[in-house]
């Protein structure tokens, strides 16, 4: 009895496997026969569930849009793109598993994502080992591209396969510091961060620029990213009487923090980086009026180049907004598509066998006008576009106040 069921099982499995193999080989045949389409997969890793899902869903949808547009327009002849979206729940270990899974599929020529710098740290190594491109629309920690000694200007490219379309915290934090001093006319700042790679880096770079220009940091504080109760911190902030409170961190904590600051009698606005720039921030925080957040790039609504993106996004009927990283995700995905296009063109219209390596090389030289501006990468894999915009909450909406191209930090270190 036992033997027989085992036999049946084995037969079924073998038969199934054979059928599948047969399918596969038939496909191969038709490909060779009539130069039919090759399929290229672009992986996507973002937190589409959990607290940061608002940003993550915007990323996923925008990448899908880029892939769909490329297929519709026949951007690369003979190649159809497919997006394989995975959820990293904003956790580094999940991101690493996703990277391993995607890298194991040889149709994957690039991975777009992740959102969090801490997740990127765990994915970079995997991507590097398998030689597949990892391109993030949102990572802003300088260490990811320039190494941990960037503060001493010993900048060394860390991973040849890692790129990003978002500018670094060094640039963004410095922009925030300059904005607070010059445009906000704030003299005294209280700096809070959530101790994560992103938050601490942003806050440190804000502090440096703000004090360099003459501002005074009247106090600083670290909180846990999981905290939602900041009353004890609020009491300290209130006693220090700052003109502005800077927060290095993300909106799930920034929302309650801002509200509790104002409930506790602090009149200074809260200011933060792109991690705070989300519609959910205003939803979670009834006293957001007057708060500032910066975000990379110009507001896509204001860019001529983004009009098509916004129209397409609307037409595609996604139920989530494209949020802060929609434009940069579209550009990141498009950059991979352009690299594949070049590789295919150089190889006489067919995908070469060492496509992954060639795509990495091509991406270094990519140059086109994207949704957020000109897309190209410097020697570290960072975007050459350092446009940053400061937004302020007004009547329950983020309103763009000021955009500028922050002076490029030059390679020699003269800032």
């Amino acid at each position: 009895m036992h033997h027989r069921s085992l036999l049946i099982l084995t037969t079924a499995v073998t038969a199934g496997a054979l059928t599948l193999t047969a399918c596969g080989s038939r496909d191969e045949g038709s490909k060779g026969g009539e130069s039919a389409k090759t399929s290229v997969t672009i992986g996507l890793d973002a937190p589409v569930t959990g607290e940061l899902s608002a940003l993550g869903l915007g990323i996923r949808n925008s990448a899908q849009l880029a892939v769909d547009n490329a297929n519709k327009a026949g951007e690369v002849k003979g190649v159809t793109f497919k997006l394989e979206p995975l959820d990293d729940k904003a956790q580094a270990n999940v991101g690493q598993q996703n990277a391993t899974k995607l890298a194991g599929d040889k149709d994957v020529l690039g991975i777009v994502g992740p959102l969090n710098s801490s997740v990127a740290q765990s994915m970079q190594q995997v991507a590097q080992q398998s030689g597949v491109v990892l391109i993030s629309p949102a990572n802003t920690t300088p260490d990811l591209t320039q190494g941990k000694d960037w503060k001493q200007n010993k900048r060394v490219r860390q991973f040849s396969t890692y790129f990003r379309t978002a500018t670094t915290d060094e640039v963004q934090g410095a922009f925030d510091g300059q904005f607070a001093w010059e445009k906000g006319k704030f003299k005294n700042a209280y700096v809070i961060d959530d101790q994560k790679t992103y938050g601490a880096g942003l806050a440190a770079s804000f502090k440096t620029q703000f004090t360099k220009l003459g501002g005074k940091v009247v106090g600083s504080e670290h909180v846990n990213p999981e905290d939602r109760d900041f009353k004890a911190v609020v009491a300290k902030v209130k006693a220090a009487k700052p003109d502005v409170v800077f927060y290095g961190g993300e909106y799930p904590a920034a929302g309650p923090l801002s509200q509790q600051l104002k409930d506790g009698g602090v009149t200074a606005p809260l200011m933060g980086g792109d991690g705070m720039y989300s519609a959910d921030y205003i939803q979670l925080n009834k006293k957001a009026q007057g708060d500032y957040a910066s975000s990379v790039g110009k507001p896509v609504e204001q860019l001529e180049s983004a009009k098509k993106f916004i129209a397409d996004y609307k037409a595609a009927g996604y139920k989530d907004r494209y949020e802060a990283y929609g434009g940069s995700t579209y550009d990141a995905t498009w950059a991979v598509i352009q690299a594949v296009k070049k590789v295919v063109a150089d190889n006489g219209g067919k995908l070469p066998t060492d496509a992954r390596k060639k795509v990495v090389d091509a991406l270094n030289k990519v140059s086109f006008d994207g949704v957020t501006g000109h897309v190209a990468f410097d020697q570290y894999g960072d975007t050459t576009n350092t446009m940053i915009t400061a937004y302020q909450v007004d009547q329950g909406k983020w309103v763009a106040r000021f955009s500028a191209e922050f002076k490029k930090f030059d390679k020699a270190g003269k800032s």
Partner: protein, 309 residues
Amino acid sequence: MNELPQQLANGLILGAMYGLIAIGYTMVYGIVQLINFAHGEIFMVGGFGALTVFLLLPSGVNLLYALPLMLIGAVLVAVLVGVAAERFAYRPLRGAPRLAPLITAIGLSIALQQAVWKWYPEGNKARVFPQFKGDSFQILGATVQRGDIFVLVAAPVCMIALGFFVSRTRSGRAMQATAQDPDTAKLMGINTDRIIVLAFAIGAAFAGVAAVAYGLRTGEVQFRMGFILGLKAFTAAVLGGIGNIYGAMLGGVVLGVAEALATGYIEDIPGMQQFGGGAWKDVWAFVLLILVLLLRPQGLLGERVADRA
């Protein structure tokens, strides 16, 4: 400006909330010697119960009138889940080795979190919880938010009611008897199963009240909120002496005040600057716990731990 009154008020409010949740740990432990690690999640579903009631009410309703209904919703959902957990997850394991129900509790905790994440509409992110409009109050040099008045009133009321119930009513005395010696209590004609269900229900009801307080305070409820808070409340229960209901409330308040003061003042001690602030408050809270347990292993108000644990 002197920030001490403010920090004490913050600690008291936070501590009262810890205390309300800690009651659930302590009552269940006192009677069946089970650490119900899913209690934090019972608190969490209570919060979603209150939110559901609010969303079902016509929009624009005055929160003051909606609050009693939300409270009923929170308590109802929390008690239902708490009692169901007792009936289906813990009762079948009564008499099993101590480790089995403990692991069941952890599994239940994960299951409840994931259930809310999956099936509550938009439960995968923080849901906005209604809050009182208007300015905060100034009381004795401290700013107290409107919503916090709720926990400052609810916690003492709940404690007095519970104290009365335990010491004056028939069921309460039956509960004390069961805690002291379940077998003898059974011989005296006490239905211990019913008493155990009652302990779970009371603990869950208190967690429901705490969940409403949490929602009013932070303006959001989310599927993970029970984890950290549950852990803190468990700490409070141990600090106060697990098994003792007044100890749970005292432990909660001590823990809350310790956290607030650690955030505010540790860094003013010379040489301790890098150990101060919000990032280290949990560390100091646990240092306090260890110190108390070293000096008084039974906790602040605890008794008779030796023959139990």
